[in-house]
């Protein structure tokens, strides 16, 4: 790709997303990233550029997301900076990403195969020395086998060992000592001494060679790294498969007559907001939009993790990624690819990979001094032993370098986080902030939002009262006509209750005032209003008791016509989860903006004693702050609709439900599902994850504290050191992988 041509904004819009004004966002693939040092190098270099707003480079997938201000700096300059650092930059289209990944995995397999084949052969060649007993081998034969091993070890070191040397050098270039430095030093030392022993068998070290140790070590290391790599890829693959590429082409409706539509198949890139598309049964919905005509059942598995179909019809919102099961629908495009619901989730997951819990950051700091001291220890053991026995000196020096395994510090935590995130994502729980795992384990106070969180947000008509002045059937038709296109939960409930096939009532100019009601002008009845008491102009004192407690009323020109009271469905298991929190000594409260009676009813049904009603978003926020002032650790669960500030203020917050606002609101976790019991699952898993990470760190400390002194004292041969190191790192990886199950 010739980046110089990307100068005009019109070029940019082909593959970048315009956030606002001059701010753009692009997704790239950066090839050649081997380790965190490379990631930091790229990020730090670009962060210094004026005009760069945000950069996130991801280690495993090699994806990078860059946001910049196009009036301050142009994209070609940013790209050339990355290239100068030694990396190749591609656009994030599926093809280039896949091709480079495939090439890389072939290379990995090839390097590993070399180490495997040569390892077997070299082990065979080294057997005679071991089996020959105290007399040693005839010197000619020894030379034969040594030279043979030497020839075989060369490809191993050049190809298979390359990755360790590259990583170590990259680290040093960035002034960072990483785990591969001791490994590289160990390999180089063993190789040097082996060559010396091969060329001059009667040297200081009686010609001892280490070809078998080198090849076994490299082979085991590559094997364990390959396994770790697979584990990480498996965790990541679930995310990317989830959001597999949406269809390339869409069926655009040219004429809006849905009985006789004219369909053209266009590339999805050419669809704009407001276009009308047709979705056939079996197709995947391409864009976020709203249904204009037709009805069907949708499979929202990408959202909820369950394939239970959701019935949708005119006026319902649908999202890209859903599968249209059995009906023909026409929908209007509301959001394009980059701003779709599904891509927002994807971005959240990607961004969350960069957050780190506090104690992991602390452990990162220890890694450097630890590795430096290992290198110093190895040098000092050599010096100490030199006067006693040259052989022991070499053994000790090499073994100290190799036996140490700081893998728990480097590898286990990312794997554990990945495994945990994967397990959660399979249930529809997405982590925005990994740090929240820690706080989640410490909460002692729970605030719940009511509507949409404890209740399912779909109220049902409890009681309905109609006047005698008009025919009920007729009134029902009017009601249906009024509520046909409204999205308000009360209106939808009325619509579902009174839906008739041939209503034949045409109501003109239906006006909906959000949160208050619906009104229209009719020739026969004057102004028809449907909504709250205040909206209809009814004085509560004028109403009899049973009508005054109704939430929705209808009037013709101010005259009372009908009233409806609603009851809310409590979500399944809401009661159980409140009880389970009580058992944990965590108190739950409700913060709701609804009326007292409604909140009281819900509180009673789920077993909550303390509840607050009529709360504005600001009141909710203040409640959370007050609780925190009294040393409480607050978990707030809401739907993001009117509890944004409270959610942001709480120590940990979860947004749940199925409206897009759960993603936009600032929170730590998103549960895209209506199963409230998942909160329990989340808390349990976060506790497990933290304990696994801690276990790994304890194991690492234990292992190093025991093995390094033994190596220092010369008790451990190099090959044994290599064995210990790989098994330790495998234990740590397997322990983390447990979380995935």
């Amino acid at each position: 790709m010739n980046w110089n041509f990307v100068k005009n904004t019109s070029d940019l819009s082909e593959f970048c997303e315009n956030i606002n004004d001059n701010n753009w966002r692009v997704e790239l693939i950066i090839d050649g990233i081997h380790c965190m040092a490379c990631v930091s190098k790229i990020e730090n270099t670009l962060k210094k550029i004026k005009g760069l707003r945000k950069i996130n480079v991801h280690l495993t997938s090699n994806h990078a997301i860059i946001e910049w201000n196009n009036s301050l700096v142009k994209l070609p300059r940013l790209v050339s900076l990355i290239k100068k650092l030694g990396f190749n930059v591609f656009l994030s289209s599926e093809d280039t990403g896949l091709a480079s990944k495939q090439l890389k995995s072939k290379e990995v397999l090839w390097n590993w195969s070399i180490s495997l084949i040569c390892f077997f052969q070299i082990m065979m060649f080294s057997m005679p020395s071991y089996l020959s007993g105290n007399d040693g081998l005839d010197s000619n034969l020894k030379s034969l086998f040594d030279w043979g091993s030497f020839i075989l070890i060369i490809p191993v070191i050049i190809f298979s060992g390359k990755v360790f040397f590259q990583n170590a050098l990259n680290g040093l270039k960035n002034k960072v000592i990483n785990m591969d430095l001791p490994i590289s030093l160990g390999i180089i030392l063993m190789f040097l001494f082996s060559v010396m022993g091969t060329v001059n068998p009667s040297n200081l070290f009686s010609g001892k060679v280490y070809y078998d140790s080198i090849s076994m070590f490299i082979f085991l290391l590559l094997s364990s790294r390959y396994l770790e790599h697979k584990i990480k890829i498996k965790s990541w693959a679930t995310f990317t498969n989830f959001f597999k590429k949406l269809p390339e082409s869409s069926r655009k409706v040219e004429r809006k007559d849905f009985r006789n539509p004219r369909i053209t198949i266009v590339s999805s890139n050419q669809i704009r907001k407001g276009d009308f598309l047709q979705a056939l049964p079996g197709e995947t919905i391409n864009f976020d939009g709203v249904i204009i005509d037709g009805s069907s059942n949708l499979n929202n598995m990408f959202m909820t993790g369950e394939s239970f179909p959701e019935a949708v019809g005119e006026g319902n919102k649908i999202f890209a990624g859903a599968i249209n099961i059995d009906g023909l629908i026409y929908y209007k495009v509301e959001r394009l690819r980059n701003t779709s619901y599904i891509s927002k989730i994807k971005k959240i997951i990607e961004d969350s990979q960069y957050t780190k819990p506090a104690f992991v950051r602390m452990v990162d700091k220890i890694a450097q001094p630890f590795l430096i001291s290992i290198i110093l220890l190895s040098i000092s053991s050599c010096l100490i032993w030199w006067s006693i026995s040259h052989q022991m000196a070499i053994n000790a020096m090499i073994s100290v370098l190799i036996v140490t395994c700081p893998c728990a510090l480097y590898l286990s935590t990312p794997i554990a986080m990945c495994a945990a995130a994967n397990k959660l994502a399979r249930k529809g729980i997405y982590i925005k902030n990994l740090e929240a795992f820690e706080t989640l384990a410490k909460i002692n106070l729970l605030f719940f939002d009511k509507t949409g969180t404890l209740t399912d947000g779909k109220p049902k008509i409890d009681n309905s009262y109609f006047t005698n002045l008009h025919d009920q059937k007729y009134l029902k038709k009017v009601l249906y006509g009024l509520t046909k296109n409204s999205m308000h939960p009360f209106a939808r409930s009325i619509k579902e209750n009174y839906s008739v096939k041939n209503h034949k009532i045409e109501l003109n100019e239906i006006k909906e005032i959000t949160g208050k009601g619906i009104e229209t002008k009719s020739k026969t009845h004057g102004i028809i209003k449907l909504g709250s008491k205040i909206f209809c102009g009814i004085d509560p004192n004028d109403l009899p008791r049973h009508l005054a407690s109704c939430q929705v009323h209808m009037t013709f020109d101010g005259k009372w016509i009908a009233s409806f009271s609603f009851k809310e469905n409590i979500k399944d298991k809401a009661k159980e989860i409140i009880a389970s929190f009580k058992r944990r000594n965590v108190e739950s409260l409700i913060l709701s903006g609804d009326q007292k009676k409604a909140v009281h009813d819900v509180a009673k049904k789920v077993g909550i004693n303390k509840y607050f009603w009529g709360m504005t978003p600001k009141n909710k926020y203040l409640k959370v702050m007050n609780a925190q002032k009294n040393k409480a650790r607050v978990l707030m669960v809401g739907d993001g609709f009117n509890d944004g500030p409270a959610l942001a203020q709480a120590d940990v917050s979860i947004t749940m439900g199925d409206s897009p606002s759960i993603i936009q609101t600032k929170s730590d976790f998103i549960i895209i599902s209506n199963d409230i019991f998942l909160i329990n699952f989340l808390i349990n898993l976060s506790k497990k994850t933290l304990s696994v990470i801690k276990q790994n760190i304890y194991w690492a400390i234990l292992y190093n504290f025991i093995m390094v002194p033994f190596a220092f004292l010369g008790y451990i041969e190099p090959w044994l050191a290599g064995l210990g190191m790989t098994f330790s790192s495998l234990i740590v990886a397997a322990n983390s992988y447990r979380l995935n199950q």
Binding site: L109, W110, S113, I114, I117, L141, G148, L152, P155
Partner: protein, 44 residues
Amino acid sequence: MEILFILIPISIIFNFAVLIFLRWAIYSNQFEKLDNEARRILKE
């Protein structure tokens, strides 16, 4: 035992022959999509 001085180098040559063959196999996609052959039977 002198025969070893011929046999060992021959074995090393074999070793490299194996490596060359493996390289061909890996880079000509022999190890990609291992399930395809299994599924082909079902398709037919």
